[in-house]
């Protein structure tokens, strides 16, 4: 087990009817910026629950945060924060809205001229404007971590930021919000959370027995509830386990003391940038190829995963590991998620070369848990995913 530090101060308020607890959790004298996305919260009743709980606090609304939170749009929100003396940000939405709130939290107290520098200069935020979240779409885990991904269309950049000051003060997780989520987004959320665990687990044995089992617990739970969530999003037992699994998948706990990979995300991001494919679906496209290409390096963990998570008990280490990759791909298929790039675009020729080129342009030193994958490796992995 590697040495590690772990701290996560976010307060989780979990369960039915908990949106009403905003009333008690938010400071009474806060001047609130209510940040949200495309407006679905006005159709599904969540907006009304939030407004009711806010009572007579001073609230400015800012909607329209897009699926990949865009810098230009967030700068408009920042102008509102400054003009209206906002003291507290309340993000009501999924990972994109929450990631946007984290940027605003940092930018509101940033003393430089250009908040984009926080991203380009890798500035860790130790103190941001306080913010909280009401999660409407389980998937990214952003509700209980301090990381954020921001997109800037103008320069075609998608950069990460974070810091110990960017944990939500609290996050409200009401599994009943799942009722109104479209099937496509439910499948995406399950796939996203599942792949988050794989990125922190599918490396090589490190003697971190507890962390391995915690990761396997989340994978097993997602597998158990996935068909139930897809079949009936009002199944509260399934919905609540789905929601808590998504949060636990990326709140920092399971990565402590172990190597992590994240190459699937790095390559997947480029497919979203090139073709606009949903983030989660790009992960499902890349993951099977990535694990097949890096088979020798990952086969022990693949076999362990196959045995413990998929109950694949027959065969050699290699046979179990191969079967585990196949079973993972089948799981994505059962969610209605295609796992080949050619199923998303006819224009896929040349994608592998383009990803390899961007690899160099972006200055990546090397991908994977050993940081050993080079542009040519990435080219081959993406080509295998055609």
């Amino acid at each position: 087990m590697n040495n590690f530090k772990f701290q996560n101060p976010t307060k989780i308020i979990f369960g039915k009817g908990q949106i009403a607890s905003l009333k008690d959790e938010l400071p009474q004298d806060a001047n609130i910026l209510l940040l949200y996305g495309g407006g679905s919260i006005k159709r599904n009743g969540i907006y009304d629950q939030v407004i009711s709980a806010l009572g007579d606090r001073r609230v400015e609304e800012f909607g329209g945060i897009p699926a990949n939170p865009e810098y230009a749009k967030l700068m408009e929100a920042l102008a509102v924060i400054k003009a209206r003396d906002i003291t507290y940000i309340l993000a009501v939405g999924g990972g994109s809205v929450i990631d946007g709130a984290k940027f605003l939290s940092a930018a509101a107290l940033y003393e430089g001229d250009e908040p984009w520098d926080i991203l380009t200069n890798n500035i860790s935020t130790t103190k941001g404007m306080p913010f909280a979240t009401v999660l409407t779409l389980p998937a990214t885990g952003s509700e209980m971590n301090s990381g954020s991904v921001i997109t800037r269309a103008e320069t075609k950049e998608k950069l990460v930021m974070g810091g110990p000051g960017l944990f939500p003060a609290f996050s409200i997780l009401d599994p009943e919000v799942i009722h109104s989520i479209p099937q496509r987004q439910l499948a995406n959320g399950i796939t996203d959370a599942f792949t988050h665990v794989l990125e922190q687990y599918m490396t090589y044995p490190m003697g971190a027995y507890l962390q391995d089992r915690l990761s396997e617990s989340i994978l097993q739970t997602l597998i158990e509830v996935a068909p139930k969530v897809m079949e009936d999003p009002t199944d509260y037992t399934a919905a609540s386990n789905f929601m808590w699994s998504c949060t636990m998948a990326l709140n920092g706990l399971i990565s402590k003391g172990v190597p992590t990979d994240w190459a699937v995300h790095m390559m997947g991001h480029e497919l979203t940038a090139l073709y606009g494919i949903d983030h989660a679906r790009t992960l499902a496209v890349i993951a099977p190829s990535h694990y097949t290409y890096n088979f020798e390096a990952k086969k022990e963990k693949l076999a362990q995963y196959g045995e413990r998570v998929w109950n694949i008990t027959e065969g050699s280490t290699e046979e179990k590991a191969r079967a585990a990759i196949q079973r993972t791909e089948q799981f994505f298929h059962e969610l209605g998620i295609d796992t080949k790039l050619s199923q998303y675009t006819d224009d896929y020729e040349g994608t592998a070369e383009e990803v390899a080129k961007r690899f160099t342009e972006r200055g990546w030193k090397g991908l994977g848990e050993h940081q050993s994958l080079n542009p040519e490796d990435a080219r081959k992995i993406v080509e295998m995913a055609y």
Copy 2:
């Protein structure tokens, strides 16, 4: 799954050589009370590591905190805090020293005349004097929670206290401290942590699939590393998994959204009070009888535990459940822990009646996850444990 709130702000600093990080983690201008127990830290080198890391900070030492932290002794420490303008408490020890630090943290800022009122009046501490810990004995989980148990010999009381202000600011967990722990205490630590998980898990199915699996993960890990820790405490992989499992067993995570029991602890405490039996050993005495007595109420979870944790796959639910109780008792035996009261004292006759009497005297409303066990139930359970 039940609704829940979860927040745990303690920073964990885990790994080899991490005691040295006290240098950076403690405020430079802190006036520190260094709190410890019987002095073993002076023999095993931990004291020297701590003193070296503290540098030129002002430090007062207070040793001699006993195994069940005693109010009178802690009041002496409180007098030092007041007389010497202490601003920060550093607990170097196991659960008793850490529990003592929590009492001092609360008492130092308590405005009433008599700090014992914090315990008798169930006063939740929202703000205490800052404190941190260097854990020298994995077992209780006190290093990452906000609860404390304090004993007062004068009145024969043993009471609990806590509150959101009583999380350690940080805790240093260096698995190498295990090298010098006596076998008896290693076995106690494993048993204590194992039983902590059982108390939060062995109830009835609640549809909390993730929490169940997280609990099973800790149990499986403790089972896997127990013989290795006992055989060779310098086995770092075993030691690190043991240490992290003990912390995760009682940091609040696995109890969220599920019913909890804690009857084993309630009855076990009385055996310690009556005969001075080590805390962990009283749990091993009571647990098998408790699960056998409450078999009908707990058999579904007992069978699930048998299947998933002990790989008991044959037989009916009842058969698996019975076998799971036997296997648990065998696990304690393999650790060298006796599971019958008569193995600890010849004077056991009448103990069951005495525990039942105390049940009433202490005003317990009812034990167990349904709060349904009455004094007569407790009498029968303890009698089964003779």
